[in-house]
Amino acid sequence: MARDRSRGKGEFSALGIVLLVLVAFPIGIFGYQAWRAASAGVKIVEIVARAPEQGGFSPDRLTLRAGETVRLRISSPDVVHGLTIPGLGVNVDEIYPGKVVEVDVTPDEPGRYAFACTRWCGLDHWRMRGVIEVTDLTPRPPSLRGKGVSIPPPLVGEGAGGEVLPGAAGEIPLYQQLGIDLDAMRHAAQVTPGARPSIAAGAALNAKLPQALTDSAQRRTLALADAFQTLRDDPTNAALSDADVWSLVAWAWLKDVPPTALARAETLYARDCAACHGPDGKGKGPAGLDLPGLTKMDPTLPKGPRDFTDAGGMLAASDVLLQGKLLRGGMGTGMPEFGSLYSDEELWAMIAYLRTFLFKP
């Protein structure tokens, strides 16, 4: 009888331990997290950053509410990652394995905010992205509350009864408005400079530029080789050498770009482009050697990321064309879209920066 009682006590103790492990311990952990959240007055969202082959960001789709502060707790179980959410002003340069980075965000405006990894975490780094949907705080009508029920989108214009409407007119990209086919085969520029054109040398010539080159909206639509030919054919430039005229082109393209914009683009290039296009812009970056879309590339061009020092190709391309490629990405070639990550200013600054691979200060 005494033995039975002692065994009963033993079982009771064992169950007590099990209870402690299964209940008290998790309650302690979750209670601590809840207490931290409550004491800080913010909601906590855990984001795990893994190499894209292992899942990328988890979750990669988040829904937040405008005006509500959320604490993002970001961790990595494998290699060093980074995180940028440009629209929300979040930039985390390093998320080390085993450490947790906390960032508080309070989105002001409803909308769609892309986020991306900013460290070269592997060959598929360019795939490591996600989206935050920020919804309005306006409560739903009671009749529409509940899972699986959504408020229909506002009806706009004619044909709204089910027909697909184009996006807002202001959102049509410039290249599309101008009817430029980003993927059409293009001939290389027939004329190219013999030496690297110099912006300073172009400025020193004190030449008068035609309006097509002083007006940025017009200039952006021109191939640089065509601009060279226009200047070359202008009798007022008859005394200039071809090298001088190329320097005029370089000056025309970059004279109005603030140094801060070029510095920003240089930072972005190092972060987002150099692994494929190379730090020197020659298209030989290690991550670009074995892209899954190499077979999709223009067969008339060398296979691989664009060589920004290739005068024939770059001088045949207008700024608008390059901007389109940058914002949309390559069509199946492995070049990601940057339209959801870069502001307009950053897109144009990047185009200007790409020109500096051919033009020296």
Binding site: R127, K147, L165, G167, D183, G324, G329
Partner: protein, 143 residues
């Protein structure tokens, strides 16, 4: 008897906790996916988002055929986002895969959105409209 009661209580509380944890992850959308084994090896080895998009395309071709793609693939004859993943279905019903989406970010973004919206129970018309609203800023669609 008390021991059994304690055990049941423990299991119940543990179960409740696990349920609470899983409800908090917020990735509950239930959509049909083809098994990974249904994909060619390169797609099986692709980044998770790409692999899942291919799995979704095989199991939900109508959902992707319902939406345009904005990556520029209209120029190579694609008529919908589905064409970036599957060229056609053979007479045996098996998909003939296209590796276009393997090198395309917009193609996969669009399919991921369709997958999420499908999981949320949105209608095909609403899904299509949302894709158009989100992606027409990147270029001309192919529908």
């Amino acid at each position: 008897m008390p021991q059994r009661f304690t055990l049941v209580l423990t299991l119940l509380l543990g179960g409740l906790l696990l349920a609470a944890c899983s409800a908090d992850t917020g990735t509950s959308s239930q959509v049909k996916l083809a098994p990974v084994s249904a994909l060619p090896q390169p797609m099986q080895d692709a980044p998770a988002a790409v692999r899942t998009a291919y799995q979704f395309a095989v199991a939900n071709p109508d959902a992707l055929q319902n939406v345009p793609c904005y990556c520029g693939c209209g120029a190579i004859g694609h008529k919908s986002n589905l064409a970036c993943y599957i060229k056609e279905f053979g007479a045996d019903g098996k998909p003939v895969f296209d590796d276009h989406a393997m090198g395309c970010s917009l193609c996969v973004d669009i399919a991921t959105d369709v997958m999420q919206l499908t999981g949320e129970g949105k209608s095909p018309a609403d899904i299509r409209q949302q894709i158009v609203d989100t992606y027409s800023k990147f270029g001309p669609g192919n529908q």
